[in-house]
């Protein structure tokens, strides 16, 4: 049985809600619980989790507490506990036991007057105005928040540009400044590469792939996914490219993301060609262009890193590409060992660019996919919670992160979906990413491995599980340990997202 209660006009941060739900799920007799803001997307997610939401009239400003349990007394107890925890989180004392921190922007600047960057991570509807305040005080901005209106983004970037400042974002998950990570990022070495990326897993994947080839990154500038669209005009991308091209510590420039609007792409290429600095473009899914050394054009993230690493080390990019291509045979062999099969591929991604790349790799192998973030509009899923045929879902998309933690931090929903896919008799391959690094879940592999094991209970050996780990040896989660955990659960772990996607393609018998 279930109970749903609404707390009107109350905002709670996603971390608090996640922690409260975690505590409720430990209570005897509670089978499921969820605390979310009353957005349309969250209604759908509650429904997909088995809650009956008919007649619930919560608005996006209201908190929904939903609990399923064995009987009324369990539900009464759980709701009482939920409200107590929300009012006075038991972990708050521990969290607030540290230093006193200023509560206002001006207070923070009084303490640290030489600050030159502000990281903003508040609800999207407030983030834009706060970012403008920061720009007004001469700060560059890393806008981690998503759900910031496009018009606001344009206004912010134009204002910042006039002042010689950068706005990195919105939805910028990763920035690296002089090797120091802001947001989600990996513990990789510092070196002569500068990366400009839409920001997020595209940047992370290139960052770690470079590190695995012995090449470090000095700066990684996130621009936000919409920056290279015509409306925004690539304001941040162009500024970042100019800065990195003129930085003598940067020997190789990498620009990566989804394909820009043509006029933006032309401007970027023009800047790079005029500078003469070795550069690699990884516009995933872009039009095929030819290399014009020292400018190289790549279509996948690992390939981008591979070529950039070769340039940074003074090696031959052609040879590097060739070595990478040669790994395909190994993947085919591995597919035979695992066992090729008929059926559908379902992708469950936490990284937007990784999701995008997976779709493209599969398309290149003749596998058309549906998605909530498709590279082709015609393949947009009508309902992200009801995948059809081959579907690759980005669980980091805005629809899933309003009032919820990003799936790189909270894997609960993705694990639930993994289990749900096991119940679909037509699914034969499940593909997913595991992102490590600062800010990410401390042990994603264990959670996913448990979900895979539980899924096998439903599907037997019907489903082959394929994953890649976007991580590096020094990441807090311990890359090797995470890999072993997944492999112990029978997951085929590949060296990169592209390789994992390719293996998934090879697993399908035609």
């Amino acid at each position: 049985m279930q109970r749903i209660e609404i707390i009107r006009s109350s905002y709670y941060d996603s971390v608090t809600l996640m922690l409260v739900a975690k505590e409720l799920n430990k209570l005897a007799g509670v089978t499921s619980s969820s605390l979310v803001m009353g957005t349309e997307a969250n209604y759908n997610i509650l429904a997909s989790g088995g809650f009956d939401v008919d007649g619930i009239d919560a608005t996006p400003n209201d908190l929904i507490i939903a609990v399923m349990g064995e009987d009324e007394s369990v539900l009464d107890g759980a709701l009482k506990t939920a409200k107590e925890y929300i009012a006075s989180p038991p972990w708050k004392k521990e969290m607030s036991a540290g230093d006193y921190r200023p509560k206002s922007l001006d207070g923070a600047l009084a303490v640290q007057k030489d600050s030159n960057i502000a990281v903003i991570s508040v609800a999207g509807r407030y983030a834009g105005d706060l970012a403008m305040d920061c720009i007004g005080k001469g700060l560059n901005v890393m806008l981690f928040s998503d759900n910031v209106p496009l018009e606001k983004e344009i206004e912010l970037k134009r204002t910042a540009s006039e002042k010689g400042l950068l706005v990195m974002g919105p939805d910028c998950g990763t920035v690296i400044i002089r090797g120091k990570a802001l947001g989600f990022a990996n513990a990789c070495p510092v070196g002569p590469v500068g990366i400009v990326a839409a920001a997020g897993t595209g940047l992370q994947e290139v960052h770690v792939q470079l590190a695995r080839r012995g090449v470090g990154t000095l700066h990684g500038i996130g621009t936000g996914g919409r920056d290279v669209k015509a409306e925004v005009g690539g304001i941040t991308t162009l500024t970042a490219v100019k800065e990195l091209l003129s930085d003598d510590e940067i020997e190789t420039l990498v620009v990566v993301g989804k394909p820009p609007a043509k006029e933006v792409e032309d401007k970027i290429l023009d800047l790079v060609k005029r500078s003469g600095k070795p550069s690699v473009f990884g516009f995933i899914g872009g039009q095929t262009r030819c290399d014009e050394p020292p400018v190289y054009i790549c279509s996948e993230l690992e390939e981008t890193a591979c070529v950039a690493a070769a340039l940074a080390k003074g090696e031959d990019p052609a040879m590097a590409r060739s070595d990478l291509k040669a790994k395909e045979q190994g993947l085919k062999n591995r597919a035979e060992e695992i066992g090729r099969r008929k059926g559908y591929i379902r992708g469950l991604f936490s990284g937007g660019t990784l999701c995008y790349e997976a779709q493209l790799v599969l398309a290149n192998h003749g596998i058309d996919t549906w998605s909530n973030a498709p590279f082709s509009k015609e393949k947009k899923l009508e309902n992200s919670l009801k995948p059809v045929a081959h579907s690759i879902i980005d669980y980091g998309e805005d629809e899933f992160t309003q009032g919820r933690l990003h799936p790189m931090m909270d894997l609960t929903f993705r694990c639930e979906r993994l289990l749900a896919e096991a119940s679909d008799p037509e699914v034969s391959v499940v593909l997913f990413d595991v992102v490590l690094g600062y800010g990410c879940n401390p042990d994603p592999a264990s959670l996913l491995a448990d979900a895979v094991t539980a899924s096998r209970g439903r599907s037997g050996d019907r489903i082959a599980y394929v994953a890649s780990i976007c991580g590096f040896d020094d990441d807090p989660q311990d890359f090797e340990k995470q890999k072993k955990i997944l492999e112990s659960a029978g997951v085929a772990v590949c060296e990169s997202n592209a390789q994992a996607s390719r293996l998934a393609a090879f697993l399908l018998a035609r």
Binding site: D99, Y100, S104, G107, A110, V111, Q112
Partner: protein, 238 residues
Amino acid sequence: MSRMRDIRTRPLSVSADWNKSLEEYKVVSVYRRTVNLEDTDGRRCTLITEQEDFSSRTALVESLPVAEEGSFVSVAAEDAKIGYNPSLQAAGICKKWRPLILEWQSFLADDDLAVLADVWDGVNWRPLVGLGPGLTPAGDDFIYGRLAAHMRLFEDDDSVVSDFRRDYRRGSTSKLAEGFYDDLLARKIWKRGRALLDALAANDAQRVLDAVKCLIDWGHSSGRAWLAGFAFGAGEVL
């Protein structure tokens, strides 16, 4: 009651205003970290065990004597060094700290200080005397903070301090709290507050943050109430 002169303590250090020639004190109240005493003039004197708790007429001891309220103890301080000078010197507060200081006004929004927020109109301190939670009522802590800000900024009494000095009615609050008013008006300040003032004067950001933390951690609400009062006081002048 018989005097129990057998309880004797020798402080490690004392505040600069501790009367070293006096030895006998009556125990007024006993707490986990402090013992409040009364000297022969009826003034509050305190035994403490932590450096941060220094204030006026305070003696730092290694351990508190085991004594009951109403009993007598002997404090032999003739050889004790001076551990703290409670004198409050006027020195100004750099305006750059204003935005940070004003943040502390928001402590009045805390649930346990709502009783102060309900009556504080930004000017009239009178309803706050003796009001609110705490061994020294939070309203008094708030007024201490506000007066401390004004006294830090001006060597002589300004209108806010004069107004208080003129209109405060004795017996409006607890004896302990009243004693602290007397000390403050004699330009004596407790160490936690002094640490904040010194940090602000030194323009040392980390020291400021540490001092604020130390104040927040004091008592249940005393520190926050003091900070809120200080913030209002400083905000009136900076």
